[in-house]
């Protein structure tokens, strides 16, 4: 199984670098994972990371893209859906479904997405 070493601990991932174990996640690891994706985490990133993690804990799955965009609209006071969507992609250029999930320590979404 692929893995990386972090603060003296071996962190297992899947083939594409998503954490195998949700509990291994912490803020430092998020920074490390974001760095791998060439993303420097800002407060705006953190708001979404925390929100999707909470959502995942509650529902055992990541939120639908529409729900995420809606949340962003609320958090950032962006009324226009398209603008909110653009905002999400500016934060996570490779798409929120995968890139945000990865940094938040969630599994990769499966299916036709």
């Amino acid at each position: 199984m692929p893995s990386f070493e972090f603060s003296g601990k071996v962190i297992e991932t899947d083939d594409e670098g998503y954490l195998q174990n949700l509990d291994n996640w912490n803020k430092e690891i998020a920074v490390y994972l974001a760095n791998e994706e060439n993303i420097e985490l800002t407060e705006r990133h953190w708001e979404l990371i925390n929100w999707v993690r909470d959502y995942f804990m509650k529902f055992q799955v990541a939120p639908a893209i529409k729900s995420l965009v809606k949340e962003v609209g609320k958090l950032e006071n962006i009324e226009d859906k398209k603008e909110a969507n653009k905002f999400v992609y500016e934060l996570f250029p490779e798409g929120p479904a995968k890139q945000l999930a990865k940094i938040a320590g969630l599994p990769k979404p499966t299916g036709c997405v």
């Binding site: 083939d15 529902f59 055992q60 299916g111």
Partner: protein
């Protein structure tokens, strides 16, 4: 380390489709991840490749040849005329001779000749026969997963060889010896465990639907509902689970909901049968295909619905329309006044024609629309009552919803449609370069209507096509929002 955009090889779009220089092994470097142990065993396969797999593979191959007469014919009757060679989008995009349909099929035919023909066993090289070997099975794993089972080559084959049957058999043999593909096996296991490809549990699904209801209320002022697990509803709607998660897919779900709302027909989605897709078909495994298919009909019985309608998903339509009756029928508990199952496009168009719902096509006047025929709908099924309905029904529906529509070039659409490059279980990131290469022919003809007719919207009825084109468009320099579902057009145009 994740592959970044810069690592991708994106072709330049010229509007032309040229036959590339042939380079054997050009795309050998792109491979699928192996199936994970838990997923493999859950599907009834060995967890991983074990010693002595060669003997086992021959046994499974033999069984398939016995039970699937077509496969045996396809092994025997190819005369290597070459009609298929330049018909595959993956060959056109990669130039790899193993991606010529005949080249890919030869990987299996060589093995077939060795074990199952007298000449192959006795005169190996003369008969061009080869036993299973590590080298050979690696080639199988590579190239039978660079095929989208789209059957474009079969359309041109003078003998009618269905190459997808060969790919499916190869994948089934590989799964049977423990050499699985992670993407499909993981998804199938999620369907069995949770009910859908995405792994959305009931509470999450309800939450998502609530959000969409709220959005529709904000946008229209109407109480458009999406009922879930509602016993006694008239219709069970089974969409691909991407409609519950992804964009632009969910815009089509809003479209279906508005149609039911306006027509006043009671309906429900199910948290158990929350998936129309059937990846069992992609891996060519009868047992898994049948099990996944069964969920829909079990749920139709349990919820006591009268009709089953399938959402926008290409291969799902084939799996449900073509195989349900023989696999899990008969459906005499449903109201046989209606086609069972019915395609959502057929359903919506019927309501428009009967005057039950009305469209205002000017609502889509910002869009200049074209339509891509999805392989499994175009070449493997029908929609509605008339032959060719799989072509006419979606087009009629689009034209009812939008004033500006242009067809893609002849020879690249309808029954001759090029695959989007992501079908058949290869819509996964580790083979992104294969997906990009495979998308090239279709992207060329789309570019043509963009340039000539100003087309700015690609209408689709397949979840895979939607995801694939949404991923491809930005790589080729186009806005991902130019891709969407036919029911996205319905959603905008319907007069509520």
């Amino acid at each position: 380390m994740a592959k970044t955009k810069t690592a991708y090889k994106v072709p330049v779009l010229t509007g032309e489709i040229k036959v590339p220089k042939v380079v054997p092994g050009a795309s050998a470097y792109e491979k699928m991840y192996h199936g994970e142990n838990d997923d493999m065993t859950a599907l009834g396969f060995p967890a991983s490749l074990e010693d002595g797999w060669e003997t086992k593979a021959v046994g499974i191959f033999k069984q398939l040849l016995t039970h699937n007469k077509a496969l045996k014919d396809y092994m025997d009757i190819c005369v290597r005329c070459g009609a298929c060679t330049d018909k595959c989008q993956f060959f056109l995009g990669t130039g790899d001779s193993n991606n010529m349909p005949v080249g890919r099929a030869e990987l299996m035919r060589k093995v077939y000749r060795y074990y199952f023909t007298p000449a192959g066993g006795l005169f190996k090289s003369l008969a061009d026969a080869e036993p299973f070997s590590e080298r050979m099975i690696k080639k199988w794993f590579t190239y039978y997963y660079q095929c989208s089972e789209c059957r474009r080559c079969s359309y041109y084959c003078p003998y009618g060889i269905d190459t997808a049957v060969i790919t499916m058999a190869a994948r089934d043999i590989m799964d049977g010896i423990g050499l699985g593909q992670k993407y499909s096996t993981q998804i199938i296991n999620k369907v069995f465990k949770i009910g859908n490809n995405l792994g959305i549990p009931p509470a999450a699904l309800r939450n998502t639907l609530d959000d969409l209801e709220e959005e529709m209320k904000d946008a229209t002022g109407k109480d458009v509902k999406i009922p879930m697990d509602e016993e006694g509803a008239e219709v069970l709607l089974v969409p691909p689970s991407a409609d519950f998660f992804a964009m632009p897919h969910m815009e089509s779900l809003a479209g279906y909901a508005k149609v039911f709302y306006k027509a006043g027909i009671s309906w429900t989605v199910s948290s158990y049968a929350s998936e129309a897709a059937n990846f069992g078909m992609f891996i060519g495994n009868y047992k898994n295909t049948k099990e996944i298919n069964k969920r829909v009909w079990d749920e139709a019985r349990r919820l006591k619905v009268k009709r089953v309608i399938v959402g926008e998903c290409g291969h799902a339509w084939r799996a449900l329309y073509n195989y349900s009756n023989t696999m899990n029928g008969p459906f005499d508990f449903l109201d046989n006044k209606y086609r069972q199952p019915a395609h959502i496009c057929d359903f919506t168009l019927g309501l428009i024609k009967d005057g039950v719902i009305k469209m205002d096509p000017s609502a889509n006047d910002d869009k200049i629309v074209t339509y891509h025929d999805s392989c499994n709908v175009a070449r493997a099924s029908r929609i509605g009552e008339m032959p060719g309905g799989q072509f006419t029904v979606p087009r009629e529906l689009i034209k009812a919803c939008a004033n500006h529509f242009f067809e893609l070039r002849d020879g690249a659409n309808r029954a001759q449609t090029y695959c989007c490059g992501g079908g058949g279980g290869i819509l996964t990131d580790e083979v992104m370069n294969v997906r990009i290469a495979g998308s090239m022919p279709k992207m060329q003809v789309i570019k043509e209507v963009m340039d000539n007719n100003g087309v700015n919207f690609l209408a689709l009825i397949c979840a895979i096509c939607k995801t694939q084109f949404t991923k491809m468009y930005p790589l080729y320099g186009f806005d991902a929002e130019m891709v969407g579902g036919v029911h996205q057009l319905v959603s905008s145009a319907i007069v509520l």
